[in-house]
Assembly symmetry: C2
Homo-oligomer: 577 residues x 2
């Protein structure tokens, strides 16, 4: 019982030296690798860069104690950072008119978002509501990520080119960018585009090139992933050496040295109300992404993660972030892959990384003073390229217009009206489309495939049929949305075939008959009785049958319930006397 | 084409004398029978009694031209009247602070409600959105009708007993009633309780008693149904004769003589906005009730009605009502049954009744001056008894706790917070419960029933199985809400049975595989491949297979697609070498 809520107890007793060495090495690698990313995503969220480091510290400890994934690494992630930026700006503007990043209201909004997300995740975890995440369908997530990638790129392009942009909307921002092009700042442009080109080159050709010059595969992987670290070191040195900051290149500047201060998210009720829905979306999106990654990695190692306990782990991490000057966190793809590939065995690797980042914030922040913002923008831009998934969009179009339309609406509305509208509309549209599809169920008249006990659609296969028996296979659960449709189908059948004596409803695909559908079956039975047609059922599943037995329907039904379609056929297909 | 939109063209060319006589007789009977009802429901809606007559005039003509049901009779109905009363009071209070029935704002609200309902119905009809009504599940409708019955009874009890009640909420109203009991008005009480007892007696014992004294069955039916007319005539005469109006019995009083005036619903935008959702509910509820009745009656005569064209017919009737001093109308149960049983053959019977009621409003309204409100209250109270369906509530409880909970929530919220909250919550809860059920689908390992080609759940039947093949029947369409659940089910299966070599997913109950589920099948296939387990499908339906062929899944799948479970069994159950 205790183990379920504190998963650390499942692995700590079996901990040994071999695992310890592996975790130590992985933790140190992660420490170095995630610094650029942590700083970058804090900047993306409109927060001071150091917040990204704070958010990679205590929240990681909380997740190590509560989470069930052995290798998931939590911290600031791009999508969540983007959502924080949009939400903090919008609610800041709505609540106090103060919308600029860096104001105390803005920082408060980020803390309150962390706290609310954390509490919501904990609640969902304790109520075992992990299934809610399932309602974010794959096309909606893919559409949302693609649109977010575009929004993130748009938010970074000013930093990359050295043009100051003030609009937040996508189109005005692009217009401003074009107007501002003549005044672009060449040193910033050099650093930004240089870092971007370097990272893009490394991403595309890094591994094969390094392998060709003799690196082992793990070393080539590691060096490729270290690209952002390398870019940070080089551009920081260049900026410092050539005094580019004085020439107008934006740099991170003074970072307070020391461990994160204790912060108290304000208890402004109107702020909480305004942030409740955004916090819910942030938590669900972060959760879905984390759990997908966690499940994939666990599957590789033949382990299992518990989605409901993951809610608790992520919830704990976010609550801790709210009290330690952080920002909303989630399982990050890049940091998780680095952690996993570096050989992490248990969450202790995360603890090592937390200690490492703690040491950095204690002692090494002065070294980051001259780190150009443009380098961070390049890091962000490259890392979000994975979000924009054009092949997935094309596949979805090919596979299902209905899924595609949910995806398209999510993309469009995310771009035009923000992440909140985008996701919510996508989810609601997915549900509406599913309900619409199930409300007009497919049904098929089936016939016997000669010399077998198998029955298939008469329109698709060569089958045997007899004119006084209709075998109607209903391809959907029967519930309120399609109950009337079923009536129409049967009545049409009876109206067009006057020679009918038996109608057999084949229920192999009927997984549920609700009270409305039961009412309709009653009506069908009565109506067929008037027309001297006998109603039978076949292949009713156990759970459905159990339920029917609790009603009067089976007593009133004119015909029988056959175990199989074949049994119904054998009995009814002989000509009646 | 024209016939589709003007159904009158389908029957008018074949009209003949025999039909004409039948329609004339039915129309005259309906004229007399529906007068008390029309007056009563207008009073229930808080409108002048004559509005009920106006609403039974031109709207009937509109429906006769546009509707597809031969015998449905439209006019004021109890549920719609109740909804109008609640909505007009609430929005009146919200918009202008003037909430009393009889004020010009109140009358305006009723007209605007008619117009909006009419326009919404027409729109839904032209967009062929009749299916929307299916989302009002049977338990939600039954719950809503039951709660409305209670609310209507509560609204009439003051009139019946001669106690003046001012509160609108259920509980304060009852408290007020109890406090007011000492001051009840005896003559009103006498008329109200007298009429009520007479009508209840007639309803219960009328038919058998009349048969016993020698009436034919149709005559007994007709006289029983004429109860309200009889009560109206007798109590009006008594009130007039004994000058009870002067003694304090509330009567209808002066009714303007003449045809309905032309009215123009105001174009106050805030009023329209406030009434949009209530109008939508009124139209959908009215539509569902009308269509159910229409279908039932059409079925008896081997005819069909077109739900989408019914939307147009009801929409036209409501638009006309808005411009002819009426109130929202719908197909009424009582008037329809009277019309049908009186032998109406075509909508011309409705036209005859409209002319008849026109004659009444032109010449006979002075006769209604002394009609006591208490008599109308008794008529309403008896007619709503059919709404309260306790056996249905009990059956639903027995059949499905999930359907019952939707019903209970609808009843409770309708009683406590009004019809709007009641219906909307009921619908949303029904949908949520359906989604929740489908998100955790039933699945069963099946085995062969010896010596047959039939496969059933191993836990419910004696079956043959082999240890290296798992036949897993999935009892639900695969879509985003349950895609992850499917993965969990298969992974658990593989984890617990190390000897497995083949997993066959039996898709006989899978009516849809959406893009999210396809993604999950891909993941399952890859994961099983890692574990050296081969994934097969069996009994994939035609439409599902067509769609799968448009993706890459079938190429990547390690195993095969079998036509039947038996084919998979025959092929795979032999021990592998």
């Amino acid at each position: 019982m205790l183990k379920r809520y504190l998963p650390i107890l499942t692995w700590l007793p079996h901990y040994n030296r071999r695992l310890g060495v592996a975790d130590l090495v992985a933790g140190l690698i992660v420490t170095i690798m995630v610094i650029p990313q942590s700083l970058a995503y804090a900047v993306l969220a409109g927060l001071p860069a150091v917040v990204g480091l704070y958010a990679s510290l205590l929240p990681v400890v909380a997740y190590a104690l509560l989470g069930t994934s052995r290798t998931l690494a939590v911290g600031p992630v791009a999508i969540v950072a983007l959502m924080v930026a949009i939400v903090a700006l919008m609610t800041g503007a709505a609540l106090s008119g103060v919308a600029a990043p860096g104001t105390p209201e803005y920082l408060q909004a980020a803390l309150v978002l962390s706290l609310l997300s954390g509490v919501l995740l904990l609640l969902m975890g304790l109520l075992r509501m992990g299934f809610v995440a399932n309602f974010l369908s794959h096309p909606v997530i893919a559409g949302f990520l693609t649109a977010s990638g575009v929004l993130i790129a748009a938010s970074q392009i000013g930093h990359l080119l050295g043009v100051e942009l003030t609009s937040r909307e996508l189109l005005p921002r692009l217009a401003e960018l074009i107007r501002g092009l003549p005044e672009l700042h060449l040193p910033t442009l050099g650093i930004g585009v240089g870092a971007l080109s370097f990272l893009l080159f490394l991403r595309q050709y890094g591994r094969p090139t390094l392998r060709r010059v003799g690196c082992s595969r793990p070393l080539a992987d590691l060096l490729t992933r270290a690209g952002p670290v390398f870019a940070v070191v080089v551009t920081t040195l260049v900026t410092w050496q050539f005094e580019l900051a004085e020439a107008g290149v934006a740099v991170i500047g003074q970072i307070p040295q020391g461990l994160p201060p204790l912060t108290l998210p304000g208890v402004d009720l109107s702020l909480w109300q305004a942030l409740l829905v955004p916090a819910l979306l942030i938590s669900v999106v972060g959760f879905v992404e984390s759990v997908s990654m966690g499940q994939m990695l666990a599957a590789r190692r033949r382990e299992r993660i518990s989605p409901n306990q993951e809610l608790v782990g992520l919830g704990g991490a976010n609550v801790v972030a709210a009290f330690s000057a952080g920002m909303p966190v989630s399982g990050g793809l890049t940091r998780t892959v680095i952690n996993h590939d570096a050989g992490a065995q248990t969450p202790l690797a995360g603890l090592v990384a937390a200690v490492g980042i703690g040491a950095v914030t204690l002692f090494l922040t002065p070294l980051l003073h001259y780190l150009p913002i443009a380098t961070l923008a390049a890091t962000i831009t490259v890392s979000i390229l994975t979000l924009i998934d054009i092949p997935m969009i094309r596949q979805t179009w090919r596979y299902s217009r209905s899924d595609f339309s949910a995806m398209a609406v999510t993309i469009l509305l995310t771009l035009v009206d923000g992440v909140e509208t985008g996701i919510i509309s996508g989810v609601l549209l997915s549900i509406a489309l599913f309900l619409y599809r199930t409300s007009r169920p497919h049904s098929a008249l089936v016939g016997r495939i000669p010399a077998t006990e198998h029955f298939r659609n008469v329109e698709r296969h060569e089958t045997e049929t007899v004119s006084h028996v209709a075998l109607l296979r209903i391809d959907e659960s029967l519930y309120f949305a399609n109950a009337r449709y079923l009536e129409d189908t049967v009545y049409d059948l009876v109206a067009t075939r006057p020679e009918l004596e038996h109608v057999v409803l084949i229920c192999s695909a009927v997984n549920l008959i609700d009270a409305s559908a039961l009412e309709s079956l009653d009506a069908i039975n009565a109506r067929l009785k008037d027309s001297r047609v006998i109603l039978h059922l076949a292949e009713v599943k156990g759970p459905v049958m159990d339920r029917l037995k609790r009603s009067d329907f089976l007593d009133d039904m004119t015909g029988r319930v056959f175990l199989s379609t074949f049994a119904a056929w054998r009995e009814l297909s002989r000509p009646s006397q």
